[in-house]
């Protein structure tokens, strides 16, 4: 997976949606209870293990959080982190092979054949078609030779035959996460599988997998109107930072990524200091920690990679993308904002909440309920990530017969209100209670809790920040909201992207016959 589109305000609002509330006293109790249930340990290689005991049922969930994502793809190699994530399901020198020594030789041949083919393709004097044909043949043969040693899908098969549930991984711009749930008696087996693939990744079937990812791009971006629009939005809004780059990869780059590049990415970013592993469920830290320590100590040490030098420069001119497309209209506008490290991070969350959360939100009441011009309208506080300066989005889907211009006018009216008039006490209180509630609710789900603990442990070096963030939430004031709205929502900081429905070509439907 890669880039997420904004979570949309569901038309009609989800039936079983739930928002919750509690008081701060409840939270300090929770923090205390978690203090007793959570054990952390930093291994000599820098890798952090976090175990949270929650013995509700004889199962556990885990998260491996790698603090590297597609934003870290080197120039000319967009899509690399995601490609590596695919590779992590292909097994190791022990699992997925019939004879690794021989397979290794064959894989080296594949790489050499690919490099030779790529070199000819990029020949400055022009590629020689005859040479390309020969090199392609050699490349195909090398792949076929390597394939003979493969036990297909063995890593996945072992996990699934042992009860792996919601077996998954996600590559975002900011990070890569691997996760699943299992019966608790498979903890050691899991530790073996997971640590093996982190350490002993083999570039098996790499070039086949690259074609699969190209198909993924076709599906998510090229054949999807929203995918097309958001790729244009991001590449327009950013001029320097990698958030502006296609996360799944530009076609020309994705199609030329090599296994050598993927393994170099692995070597640089899959080091202990860049990884947090969390386990939540029916486990006892006293018994589980030594097991995890034994397996995850194999991960190489090494310095935590430096963050990138590029900082997106200040935008000084409004930009607009208009996509003429056969699909129905969508309107989006985006404003640059700082990263999650900014003290104003929670203020952006407050604004997003007040303008978009539920049927009391300002955009719903104005555009959906009262003016009846939009099917949905909402804001999103951070996109496409939040580790680096990102974008605050407003988006709307016009009702039939209504236009993007009407969406813009109404959204700007709401923005002006945020700038000139304080939000109400009720609105601010709702934001705070909803935030507390959302956090509390998430505590009852092994996988959700595991993912959250991993994120906070990785970002702040302390999972307690998951609870302490509420102190910052509580301190948000009406003045903060006006100040941030005035600083952020200005035309020169804006990028607009919209789909304007183009008249479809004459209704042709004869493509089946050739």
């Amino acid at each position: 997976m890669h880039r997420r589109l904004p979570a949309r305000l569901p038309i009609g609002v989800a039936i079983f949606a739930a928002l919750f509330f509690t008081c701060n006293a409840g939270f300090s109790q929770d923090l205390k209870s978690f203090e007793q249930r959570i054990t952390t340990k930093v291994l000599p290689n820098g890798l952090t293990i976090l175990i949270c005991e929650r013995p509700e049922a004889p199962v556990f969930s885990y998260t491996t959080f790698v603090d590297a994502g597609d934003v870290d793809d080197p120039s000319g190699e967009s899509g690399l982190a995601h490609m590596f994530e695919h590779l992590a399901f292909k097994g190791t020198s022990q699992i997925g092979t019939k004879d690794y020594a021989a397979e290794k030789v064959a894989l080296d041949n594949v790489e050499a054949a690919d490099n030779a083919l790529e070199a000819e393709r990029r020949n400055p004097a022009g590629a020689d078609p005859k040479k390309i044909a020969e090199l392609t043949k050699a490349f195909d043969e090398a792949q076929a030779a390597a394939a003979k040693y493969v036990v297909p899908n063995q890593f996945t098969e072992v996990a699934q035959r042992n009860g792996a549930h919601e077996y998954n991984a996600e590559t975002g711009l900011d990070q890569t996460m691997y996760f699943w749930s299992m019966p608790e008696n498979r903890l050691e087996l899991w530790a073996w599988l997971e640590s093996s693939r982190l350490v002993d990744t083999v570039p098996r079937e790499f070039y086949k997998e690259r074609s699969v990812v190209e198909e993924e791009r076709h599906m998510r971006t090229d054949s999807n109107p929203e995918g097309r629009l958001f790729e244009q939005l991001m590449s327009t809004a950013y001029v320097a930072h990698n958030y502006g780059r296609s996360a799944v990869g530009w076609p020309s780059e994705l199609s030329q990524i090599t296994a050598t590049e993927a393994m170099a990415f692995h070597k640089k970013y899959y080091v202990g200091s860049n990884i947090v592993v969390t386990v939540v469920g029916d486990v006892k830290a006293s018994e589980a920690m030594p097991v995890l320590e034994k397996y995850f100590s194999k991960v190489p040490g090494g310095p935590k990679p430096l963050e990138m030098t590029t900082v997106e420069p200040k935008q000084f001119a409004e930009k607009t993308v208009v996509m003429k497309d056969p699909s129905q209209p969508i309107y989006v506008e985006a404003y640059h904002r700082p990263s999650y490290k900014s003290p104003d991070d929670v203020v952006y969350d407050a604004i997003s909440d007040i303008v978009s959360d539920g049927r009391v939100s300002r955009l719903y009441r104005s555009m959906v309920r009262d003016q009846q011009i939009a099917a949905e309208a909402a804001g999103q506080s951070s996109f496409p990530g939040d580790k680096y300066p990102s974008l605050f989005l407003f988006f709307a889907a016009p009702l039939p017969g209504h236009t993007s211009a009407e969406m813009a006018t109404s959204i700007h009216k709401e923005i002006d209100k945020l700038k000139t008039t304080d939000v109400t006490d009720t609105e601010l209180a709702m934001y705070k209670t909803r935030t507390r509630a959302g956090l509390l609710r998430g505590l009852a789900d092994n996988q959700g809790l595991s993912n959250a603990l991993a994120l906070y442990q990785a970002r702040f070096g302390d999972w307690r920040e998951l609870f302490r963030q509420l102190d910052r939430v509580d301190k948000v004031t009406k003045a903060d909201i006006r100040r941030v709205a005035n600083a952020t929502f200005v035309p020169s900081n804006r990028t607009v992207a919209e789909i304007d429905t183009a008249a479809p070509a004459a209704a042709k439907n004869e493509g089946g016959e050739k």
Binding site: F20, G163, L189, E209
Partner: protein, 504 residues
Amino acid sequence: MRHNSDQWSVFRAQSASRFGGLVLAGFFLLPLALSAPAQQAQPWEKIPIPPLHQFKPQEPKRIALKNGIVIFLQEDHELPFVSGSVLIPGGSRDEDPANCGLIDIYGQAWRTSGTEKVNGDAMDDLLESKAAHIETGGDVDSTAVSWESLKADTDQVYDLAMDLLFHPKFDQQKLRLAQQQEATGIVRRNDDENQIAGREAAKLVYGADSPYARQPELATISKVTVADLQAWHDRTIGGKLLISISGDFDPAAMEAKLRTTFEKLPQTKPNPVRHDDFAGPKPGVYFINKEDVNQSNVEIVGLGIDRHNSDVPSVAMMNDVFGGGFASRLFQTVRTKYGLAYAVGGGLSFAWDHPGTFDAMVMPRSDKTVEAIQRTYDVLNSLVNRPFTEIELKRAKDNILNSFLFRYDTKDKVLAERVRLEFYGYPADYLETYKAALEKVTLADLNAVAKKYIHPDKYAVLVVGNGSEINPGLDALKMGPVHNVDITIPQPGAPAAGRGEAEK
């Protein structure tokens, strides 16, 4: 009730997955590799697997009232919340086809309208200030009111939910709002290739006018009136309600409260009995042109079975071998061996009270469409012609049985399952007997159900894709004439909401 027949949901999850491992991982494949007997223990086979901790899922308390209403109470004191739901039999399959879309609109307008005492907007304000929630919704066979709140607000939110259940006041403005939402969904329904394929495949299997496939149109939703919403409410509220409560409450007090509310109601009316015809698709190739895509969405579809069918455990195992896992025949062939697509999946689904569908789905790039369909057919034919192996059966059993625990690893899942079984009239111990039956499935069973239920010559092949890029064309399949399906959205004089024409 949400229809979650196993294989269908597995398949859907895969086709929608955006992730790297699940759908994507299986690429190459030497199908024989796994068939070779292991000579020595592999490293992972040496890792001990101790016995699983003892676990008895907590069953909810079932209370059957004399009037036919059934209540389930599931205590869960981990967090200070209480949630509840009243499930009401009767859904979109029971609506008047001339008003198709009524239930969707009802599900929205019921809550947004509110009651005599508290209108929907006031309810929003009240609930949001407590971060509580009350929602209504409609599905194919039921509607529901559900609520959730902090423990301290349990009584107040319950009273409000009951007011909404028994005294709704449907409002013209909110009806119109719901119609606009529905109209937007209709106007946008051809934007996404996947959505088109899913919808049109169901129409091929069940028939375009079937209660399980028909779709709302601008004309049918515009006919819905406030009186229709009230009539639907009056018609269904006297049915066999199913009430479920979970969370941090005192069970004795909660039971007393529910009895006070529901015991006084008259004897419930029996659930509507349906007499639907399920003929299955007309075999052939069907095509829908979409010029802005570079991938085809192929669905090969037929009729599935009803979950009451005693063959279901064997079919579930067959599904795993066919298209359920990475080592399944469909993955190994279409994905791994031929590398034809990113997303493939399929199976014979079983719905709780009517036949599900058979579906094999593949998404190849445009120019590989014909080849992908042919290879998928090879796999379909293999189910009938190539006997299943012990290795395939063992793998399917491991896959299904070792993760079976995740069907009841939370109190909410246990509760949801019991409500589902009660709603569809299955015994309370269904999950246990189902698991026992899965364990007993034999090779002979697998071969028998494949012969009984897999009929490649009876399926419809639906392709949504870019005709100008599909080369060779679909006539190369030599499966008879290609039927073009018209999905143009019918435009009545004016859209439901009466605010101008849809954009052309």
